[in-house]
C-alpha cells in the first residue's frame, strides 16, 4: 500500500516538472509555407492546378448553376446555356433565364483571393527572376479571366487588386463597386500585364498567346457594350453612378484594343486553322467534327485546352449521356436533350448562294414564316430521303447536328414526326401505325423507343426540333451509361474565334484593316468548304460567328453584349422542322417537311434587367444592386 502511495506521489510530482514548449512559436505542420510551395516547381504546379480548376471556363461542365457541374450525380437535366439562346431547345424543359442563373460571385472572389495570395508572395520567393516573371504573368492572366467573368455578369465590381488582411475590422474589408469602365479597363490592364510577362511555350497553361486571345475577347465585349448599350437603356442607382453601362465614345478604343491583340496573335504565325483546305464539303464536315471530338488533334488551332482526361466525378463530363441521340443511348435513361433549332439550321448558308441566308424551303409557295403546321392546301416539296433537303448546306451543319436519316455511330438516326396517309389525312406526333400494302408504317419511324430518336415525348428522350446533337460528342466509343464518363477535352480559346473577334472589331468600328478581316472570314469559310470569296458586312460576321462557334457557350454572351437579347427574344418562339413520311406516292417512299413552332413550347421574353445579374448579399456587403433587382 505504502509503496503504491509513494509511486503516485512521485508520478504526480513529476507532472509538475513538465514544462511547456513554445507552442505559439511553432510553424504549423499541417500547412505548407509559401516558400516551400513556390520555390519548388512541383509545388507551383499543384497550386496552379487548383487555380486553373477554379477558372470560370464555360466548358462541358458549365450550366446555369455555375461551373464545374460534374460532381457526384450532377443531375441538372442537361439544361445548357445554349437552350436559353436561339441555338437549341431542351427536349423537355421550356425554362428561360432566371434571376439566380449563371451567377459567379462568391467563387469569383475566392479565386481572386487565391491568386492575389500568390502574387503577393512572388517578390519574396527564392526563385529566378524569369520564374517570377512567369508567375506574375500567369497570375495576371487568371485574374483577368476572373474579372472578365465578373464584369460580363455584374458590370462594375469591387476591384481587389492585392490580397486583403483581416485585422479585426470587417468594415475595412468592404470595397465598393468600381465603375463598369474601371472594371473593363483593369481587366484589359491585367491582360497586358500577362502578355508582357508570359512566354510563348505552348501547354495547357497560360502563355502569351492565351493572354492575347483573352484580351481579344475581353476588348470586343467591352466595345460591344459601349456601342450597343443605348439599345437597352437602364435607370437606377447603379446606372447613375456608372456602375453599369459604358459610354458610346469608349467603343472605338476597345475595338482598337481587340484589333491590336488579335493582329499580334495572328501575325505571330503561332497558330492557324485546323485542316484549312478541305477538298470536299464532306471532308470539311468531318474535319470540323474531329476538331471538337478531340482538340488534341488540332494543336495548330487550339490555343488553350481544358482537359477532361479521366472518367469520374469532378473529372469527366456528361455531354455524351445527355445529348446523344436516343438510338445510341446504350440504355442510359435520359439521352437526346440538346435539340438544335430550325432557327440555327437556317443560318447555315448553302454553297450555291454564298454570303446570303437561305432558310430551309419546304413548300412550293416558298413561305418560310408559316409555322401553323401541316396544311393540305399547301404543296410541299418531296424528297427521296430525309437528308436530301440539307444537301448543299454548309459543312458545319453536318458537323454540328445529327440530321434526320444521317448516320451516327453507324446507326441511321430516325427522326420522323408522322406520315401523310394515302388518302391525304395525316398522323403527326400521335403514336400510331398504319399498314399499307402489307407494310407497317409508324408515326416515329419505329415501333417502340428507342428504335427512333425524334418527336415521341417518351422520357423526354427524343428531339422535338427535328435535329439531334453531334458537336463535341465522341463517335468512337459507345455511350457509357453513368455520370461523368465523357473524357474529351474542351477548347477554351481557338484560332477561329480570334479571327472572328478581329473581323467583328474591324467591321463594327470601320477600321482600315478591312482587307485582313475579309481574309480572316474567308479563311474560316474556306475551311468549311466554301470556295467563293465574299465581302464582309456586320451581319455576315455575326452569321459566321453563329455557325462557327455554335454550342461553344458564346451565343448567350453575344446576345448580351450586342444588346440583341430583348429584341431577338420578345415573345419568341423557336422553331422545328417536322419530317413526315408521304405515303401518297407509294410504292415510292417520299419525305416532306413542315416548319412549325417547337411542339409543346411557349414563347419567351427577355427582361432587359437580365443584361446584368443581380449582386448577391447586398444586405451584408453593402454594394449597390443592379437595376430592377
Amino acid at each position: 500500500m505504502k509503496i503504491n502511495h509513494l509511486k503516485i506521489a512521485i508520478l504526480v510530482s513529476a507532472l509538475f516538472f513538465t514544462g511547456c514548449k513554445k507552442v505559439l512559436d511553432l510553424q504549423p505542420t499541417d500547412k505548407l509555407q509559401a516558400n516551400a510551395i513556390f520555390s519548388d516547381p512541383e509545388g507551383v504546379k499543384i497550386f496552379m492546378a487548383n487555380l486553373y480548376y477554379q477558372l470560370p471556363i464555360e466548358d462541358f461542365a458549365f450550366f446555369r448553376g455555375g461551373f464545374n457541374q460534374n460532381g457526384p450525380g450532377p443531375n441538372n437535366g442537361g439544361f445548357a446555356a445554349a437552350m436559353v439562346t436561339d441555338e437549341a431547345v431542351h427536349s423537355e424543359f421550356g425554362d428561360f433565364i432566371g434571376d439566380g442563373d449563371f451567377q459567379w460571385w462568391d467563387q469569383g472572389y475566392k479565386l481572386l483571393r487565391d491568386v492575389n495570395l500568390l502574387l503577393d508572395v512572388v517578390p519574396e520567393l527564392s526563385i529566378t527572376d524569369d520564374e517570377k516573371k512567369a508567375l506574375v504573368g500567369e497570375g495576371s492572366f487568371i485574374k483577368a479571366f476572373a474579372y472578365f467573368a465578373l464584369a460580363k455578369r455584374y458590370g462594375g465590381v469591387p476591384l481587389i487588386k492585392v490580397s486583403q488582411e483581416y485585422t479585426g475590422d470587417a468594415e475595412a474589408l468592404k470595397v465598393p463597386r468600381s465603375t463598369e469602365k474601371e472594371t473593363w479597363d483593369y481587366t484589359i490592364e491585367l491582360c497586358d500585364l500577362a502578355i508582357a510577362n508570359l512566354g510563348t511555350t505552348k501547354s495547357r497553361r497560360a502563355s502569351k498567346y492565351t493572354a492575347l486571345a483573352l484580351k481579344s475577347r475581353v476588348a470586343l465585349y467591352a466595345a460591344s457594350l459601349a456601342k450597343f448599350g443605348p439599345l437597352a437603356p437602364m435607370s437606377g442607382a447603379a446606372v447613375s453612378a456608372n456602375l453599369v453601362g459604358l459610354a458610346p465614345g469608349d467603343a472605338a478604343g476597345y475595338y482598337q484594343a481587340c484589333i491590336t491583340a488579335s493582329k499580334e496573335l495572328i501575325s505571330s504565325n503561332a497558330y492557324s486553322l485546323f485542316r484549312p483546305n478541305p477538298a470536299t464539303p464532306q471532308e470539311a464536315a468531318e474535319n470540323y467534327r474531329v476538331l471538337f471530338e478531340n482538340p488534341n488533334n488540332a494543336p495548330e488551332e487550339a490555343i488553350l485546352i481544358k482537359g477532361f482526361s479521366l472518367p469520374g466525378d469532378n473529372q469527366g463530363h456528361n455531354y455524351d449521356i445527355w445529348y446523344g441521340p436516343a438510338q445510341n443511348a446504350n440504355s442510359w435513361p435520359h439521352p437526346g436533350r440538346m435539340n438544335p433549332t430550325l432557327d440555327l439550321v437556317d443560318q447555315y448558308e448553302t454553297y450555291a448562294s454564298p454570303g446570303t441566308i437561305n432558310p430551309v424551303i419546304t413548300s412550293t409557295d416558298n413561305n418560310i414564316s408559316d409555322y401553323n403546321g401541316y396544311s393540305a392546301a399547301r404543296t410541299y416539296l418531296t424528297f427521296d430521303n430525309p437528308t436530301q433537303i440539307f444537301e448543299g448546306r454548309d459543312a458545319r451543319l453536318w458537323g454540328t447536328a445529327v440530321l434526320p436519316g444521317s448516320l451516327w455511330k453507324s446507326v441511321p438516326i430516325i427522326i420522323q414526326a408522322g406520315y401523310v396517309k394515302p388518302d391525304g389525312s395525316t398522323t403527326i406526333r400521335t403514336k400510331e401505325q398504319i399498314v399499307v400494302g402489307g407494310v407497317t408504317y409508324h408515326t416515329y419511324g419505329g415501333p417502340e423507343p428507342p428504335t427512333y430518336s425524334g418527336f415521341d415525348t417518351y422520357g423526354g428522350n427524343n428531339t422535338r426540333t427535328g435535329f439531334g446533337f453531334k458537336k463535341f460528342l465522341n463517335q468512337n466509343a459507345p455511350v457509357i451509361p453513368g455520370w461523368n464518363q465523357s473524357t474529351n477535352d474542351f477548347i477554351e480559346f481557338r484560332y477561329a474565334e480570334v479571327l472572328l473577334n478581329f473581323a467583328e472589331a474591324v467591321v463594327e468600328s470601320g477600321s482600315a484593316d478591312i482587307a485582313e478581316a475579309t481574309a480572316a472570314i474567308n479563311a474560316i469559310r474556306r475551311r468549311a468548304g466554301h470556295l467563293t470569296t465574299i465581302a464582309i458586312t456586320p451581319e455576315l460576321v455575326q452569321r459566321e460567328r453563329k455557325v462557327e462557334l455554335a454550342f461553344e457557350n458564346k451565343r448567350m454572351w453575344d446576345l448580351m453584349r450586342r444588346r440583341e437579347y430583348h429584341t431577338e427574344f420578345n415573345n419568341r418562339f423557336k422553331h422545328s422542322l417536322l419530317p413526315l413520311l408521304d405515303l401518297r406516292q407509294l410504292p415510292a417512299v417520299k419525305y416532306i417537311f413542315v416548319r412549325v413552332n417547337v411542339p409543346n413550347s411557349n414563347s419567351v421574353t427577355f427582361q432587359p434587367k437580365s443584361y446584368y445579374r443581380s449582386i448577391p448579399g447586398i444586405g451584408t456587403n453593402g454594394l449597390v444592386q443592379n437595376p430592377q433587382y
Partner: protein
C-alpha cells in the same frame, strides 16, 4: 408521494408558461390610385406585365430595398397589404413623362393618383374584322418631340393584352415623329397564325404606340374584344 405530485404540478405549470405574441402586426395599410392624363382626365392605359412600375421605398431601413408594384391595364393600381409608414414613391419606366419621387404617409387605405402627361395619345381607335383580316385605324398625338419608334396591333386571348403580353403582333417601325393628321392603319391576317389564334374563342385586340425614349413603355387604346 405528495412531493412527487408537487414536482409534477410545478413541472406542468412551467411547461404551460408561454410568451405573449411578439410578432409584428400584419400589414394593415394600403395604397391605391390611378394614372390620369393631366390634359384629358382620362385613365392612361398600361401593361400588366413588363409595364410601368411604381417603385416605393419604406423609410426607416438601411440598407433599403426598392419594392415595386405593377399597374393594371386600365391605368389603376392597388396594393392593399402595406405597413403603415412613410414611403418614397416614384413611378418608373412608364409611358408618360417621368414624375419626381414623392414622400407619402401611408395610413389605412391611402389613395394616390398620379397626374401624368402620356407620351402618346392613341385617338379615334377603330378595330374591325372582315373575313380573317383585322384592321386597326387610329391617329396619334404625341406630347414630346421624340420619334415614335413603332406602332402595333396586339392580340391575346386574355383581355390584358399588350406589347409584352400578346400571342401575335402586327407592328410597323416608324422611327419618326408621328403626324397628327395621318390615319395609321395596321392589319393582321389571323389565319396566318391559325396554330396560335384558335377560332371559336374570344380574342382581345389592342392598338399600341411606343415612343423612342429611354425605358419608355407603349401607350395604348383600350382593348377590343372580337370573336374569331
Amino acid at each position: 408521494m405528495n412531493k412527487i405530485k408537487l414536482m409534477l404540478l410545478i413541472a406542468g405549470m412551467i411547461s404551460l408558461v408561454s410568451c405573449s405574441k411578439d410578432n409584428y402586426d400584419a400589414p394593415n395599410a394600403g395604397l391605391h390610385g390611378s394614372f390620369i392624363d393631366d390634359a384629358t382626365n382620362e385613365l392612361v392605359q398600361q401593361d400588366i406585365i413588363g409595364g410601368t412600375q411604381i417603385e416605393f421605398i419604406e423609410h426607416g431601413y438601411d440598407p433599403f430595398e426598392i419594392q415595386t408594384m405593377i399597374v393594371k391595364t386600365d391605368g389603376t393600381y392597388a396594393n392593399s397589404l402595406m405597413f403603415a409608414n412613410t414611403y418614397t414613391i416614384q413611378p418608373k419606366r412608364g409611358n408618360f413623362v417621368e414624375l419626381a419621387p414623392q414622400d407619402l404617409q401611408v395610413n389605412g387605405q391611402t389613395q394616390l393618383d398620379f397626374r401624368v402627361v402620356p407620351y402618346i395619345r392613341v385617338l379615334q381607335p377603330s378595330i374591325t374584322i372582315a373575313g380573317t383580316i383585322v384592321t386597326a385605324t387610329f391617329k396619334l398625338q404625341q406630347t414630346v418631340v421624340n420619334n415614335v419608334r413603332k406602332i402595333g396591333l396586339y392580340v391575346h386571348s386574355d383581355s390584358r393584352v399588350g406589347e409584352p403580353m400578346r400571342l401575335v403582333a402586327s407592328e410597323q417601325n416608324l422611327n419618326a415623329p408621328s403626324d397628327p393628321n395621318t390615319t395609321y392603319t395596321l392589319t393582321m391576317d389571323v389565319a396566318a397564325s391559325s396554330s396560335i389564334l384558335k377560332t371559336g374563342k374570344n380574342h382581345y385586340f389592342r392598338i399600341g404606340a411606343l415612343i423612342d425614349a429611354g425605358e419608355a413603355k407603349p401607350n395604348y387604346a383600350p382593348a377590343v374584344m372580337i370573336p374569331l
